[in-house]
Amino acid sequence: MEKIVELKNVSKVYKIGENEFKALDNIDLSLNKGEMIVILGPSGAGKSTLLNLIGGMDTPTSGNVIIDGENISLYNENKLSDYRAENVGFIFQFYNILPSLTVKENVDLVKDIVKNPISTEEALKGVGLEKHIRKFPNQLSGGEQQRVSIARAIAKNPKLLLCDEPTGALDSKTGVEVLKLLRKQCDGNNGANTVIIVTHNVLIADIADTVINVKNGKIESVVKNENPKNIDDIKW
């Protein structure tokens, strides 16, 4: 299968005061295009750091991050912005939608930065929020806010949809709805879209095509899931 992400000898070291903290320790990783990938691990394992490096939100201390054949670890800040704008959609645990913009305006934001976005209306219809376009985030439930976040991410029509604990702040039922939307995104576009989910919820691993276990800044295992579960069959 075609590779979308390749990490070669990647390390990430953070300096906290006079101390150094190795978040990722010389890891190698390859991810296939069109898969739903779940990165599992306890808090502080390095899974969010891994996601940030893949998403161009941070740069590695050493090693190469190659996305779709491009070594983005060589990019400067400006090029990384372009990379994020054109290729990556982010979904955060606490939604991170802008509180002073309406639902529609939050999604409209991507129009200013992406060359060929999906229409706002289509994106919102896809997540079932077409009737809430004039509402402000504080008028929505947590699940609805996360759906706005998904709509904003998929409106960019990204190659990579990176989700950091997307169901972490949601109840089981709403979480399942969100996961269904993510699967829908992954299955769309003739299998060209890749979804990477970072979570510490092991139950979510059952729906993934590939499961990566991270521990102490190292890849502990990469497991291919031959028979991913139906999302409706999981609950927590």
Partner: protein, 549 residues
């Protein structure tokens, strides 16, 4: 409107208290600067135009007497465009009690008018508010417009004046303002013109009261001796039984000095009652008498061709013209310099107030934007994660300060000119006599406004720069609170633990936010500073100007 612009407007509205502080301080800085400059520069510009249009003199001359010959000599000097002379003398208005002083609603017991008798009016030209243009051949007087307005004197009214007991009556033919009488005070003890018991008038030299001259001649020692001699002669003639003065023996007349200039017969007839026949008697005593030869012109004014050579002209007048007492330039003239001083006085205020408000505005920007950016940290991270370029995010945050400063700047200039400029200019012009005036906005005001906007914008940028520089992942991470535990820190002392929770909390916050604490102290100090400066200034002025305290 772009989505980010909508965000800017909604964020400003949501955080209106903080942004209103920035707006108000920036606005007040520019409001004070533009307003004070509006009236100050308005005063300067209006006077400059007025002086130029009315051809204010460049030099003032005092002399024992500027005779016809001396005036011609002055006019012929290098760099002298024109020169005029005048008699200036104070006159009391007879029956001044018919006028009411508008300042205290009391009758005016002593109304004094400075009378300027002139021959021509090419220099220091009168500005006619109402009535007829000046001409040497016209009778009547041209009265100070301000005193006329205050006392309700109109064109056509009669005024009876008295100069050292010599009275004369004149009709008011014009109401005027004159460029060298812009700041016109009674004497050195006065600070402000009252325009109620002291004013000025201009008259043709032909209107100079002849009685005043006759009295001066009759009271001179020379004339007194002549009168005594004449009376003695008359007594002797009486002793000789000569009562027909047409037939006085030549042996007597020949013994009198200058007899050919005297109409002895008439003089002897009038000598006992000369007080009632002053003109005839003086003409009898001097057959060649011409009253104009008796005028003494102590004052002259000079229009200079090239003001850069004014010192040369001054020197020439002093060196080449006889009996010159003083030659002074505009800067030495109380009207000119008094007005200029007043116009420049605002410079101090504009600097102090604008500086103070700019300083507070900068502090407000620093604290507001620091807090605001901290609060928006996650949103900045989200925008970065979405792929919005750093310069766009920077521009968005800088524009909070920029837009507010621009609006404050525009409103500051407009309202400063209207509220401070116009009000102060109107107040000033109640004292200073300038017929046409308006506020003026000089380029400096725009430059300062642009600079203030620039400073506010730059400080806004500096406040956001740290967060904007961080990578997206770092910005999205929860900021670790800055807590440093030191061995000898106050929080570890025993007595500290006995303090109340709120006191401990406050002290630790002060320790953590040293810059903000310092700013709060400095900001308050500056406010007290400004207040005490104003109080001191008012007290100082009152003491100096004798207005109480």
């Amino acid at each position: 409107m772009g989505t980010l612009n909508k965000k800017i407007l909604r964020d400003i509205w949501k955080n209106k208290a903080q942004f209103i502080t920035i707006f108000l301080m920036t606005f007040l800085a520019i409001f004070a600067f533009a307003g004070i400059h509006g009236y100050m520069d308005g005063m300067t510009y209006s006077s400059r135009v007025y002086y130029e249009n009315q051809n204010l003199q460049d030099l003032w001359i005092t002399s024992k007497n500027i005779t016809d010959e001396k005036l011609e000599e002055i006019k012929k000097l290098d760099n002298v465009k024109n020169a005029e002379r005048m008699i200036t003398i104070n006159a009391n208005v007879i029956d001044s009690e018919r006028f009411i002083n508008p300042l205290n609603n009391e009758k005016i017991s002593d109304l004094v008018l400075e009378c300027n008798f002139i021959e021509t009016n090419e220099i220091n030209k009168m500005y006619l508010i109402e009535g007829e243009e000046f001409s040497k051949d016209k009778k009547g007087l041209w009265l100070d417009y301000y005193i006329a307005k205050n006392l309700g004197i109109k064109v056509g009214d009669d005024l009876e004046l008295s100069i050292e007991g010599s009275s004369f009556k004149e009709k008011v033919v014009g109401l005027i303002e004159v460029p060298d009488h812009v700041y016109f005070i009674k004497d050195d003890t006065a600070i402000f013109p009252t325009h109620s018991d002291y004013g000025f008038v201009y008259l043709s030299i032909d209107e100079f009261p002849s009685n005043y001259i006759y009295d001066k001649i009759l009271k001179s020692d020379e004339m007194k001796d002549a009168i005594d001699n004449l009376k003695e002669l008359k007594n002797k003639l009486k002793d000789y039984g000569i009562t027909d003065y047409n037939s006085i023996p030549s042996m007597i007349t020949n013994s009198i000095d200058g007899i050919d200039k005297i109409d002895l017969t008439k003089a002897l007839e009038l000598v006992d009652d000369y007080d009632n026949n002053k003109q005839e008697f003086i003409e009898a005593m001097d057959k060649d008498f011409n009253i104009k030869d008796s005028y003494i012109y102590p004052y002259g004014i000079v229009d200079v061709e090239n003001v850069n050579k004014i010192d040369d002209v001054k020197k020439d007048i002093k060196d080449k013209i006889e009996d010159i007492v003083t030659v002074t330039a505009r800067e030495d003239n109380i009207s000119y310099s008094g007005y200029q001083r007043e116009a420049e006085e605002g410079e101090t205020y504009s600097g102090v107030f604008s500086g103070l408000f700019v300083f507070i505005a900068i502090l407000s920007v620093v604290t507001t934007m620091n807090r605001f950016v901290k609060k928006e940290r996650t949103q900045i991270g989200t925008l970065k994660a979405l792929g919005i370029k750093k310069y766009k995010i920077t521009w968005m945050y800088v524009s909070y300060g920029l837009f507010i400063a621009i609006i404050a700047g525009i409103l500051g200039i407009i309202l400063g000119n209207i509220a401070i400029g116009n009000t102060f200019l109107e107040m000033e012009m109640e004292y200073y006599e300038i017929p046409y005036y308006h506020i003026t906005t000089i380029p400096l005001v725009y430059y300062v406004t642009i600079s203030i906007i620039g400073v506010i914008t730059f400080v806004t940028y500096l406040s956001c720069r740290k967060v904007l520089k961080e990578p997206a992942a770092e910005v999205l991470r929860i900021e670790r609170p800055k807590v440093k535990v030191r061995k000898n820190g106050i929080t570890t002392k025993k007595f500290f633990n006995n303090l109340s929770l709120s006191t401990k909390w406050n002290l630790r916050d002060i320790g953590r936010s040293k810059a903000r604490t310092l700013m709060a102290i400095v900001r308050n100090c500056r406010l007290y500073n400004a207040c005490s400066y104003c109080i001191w200034n008012v007290r100082f002025n009152k003491r100096i100007y004798g207005l109480g305290i």
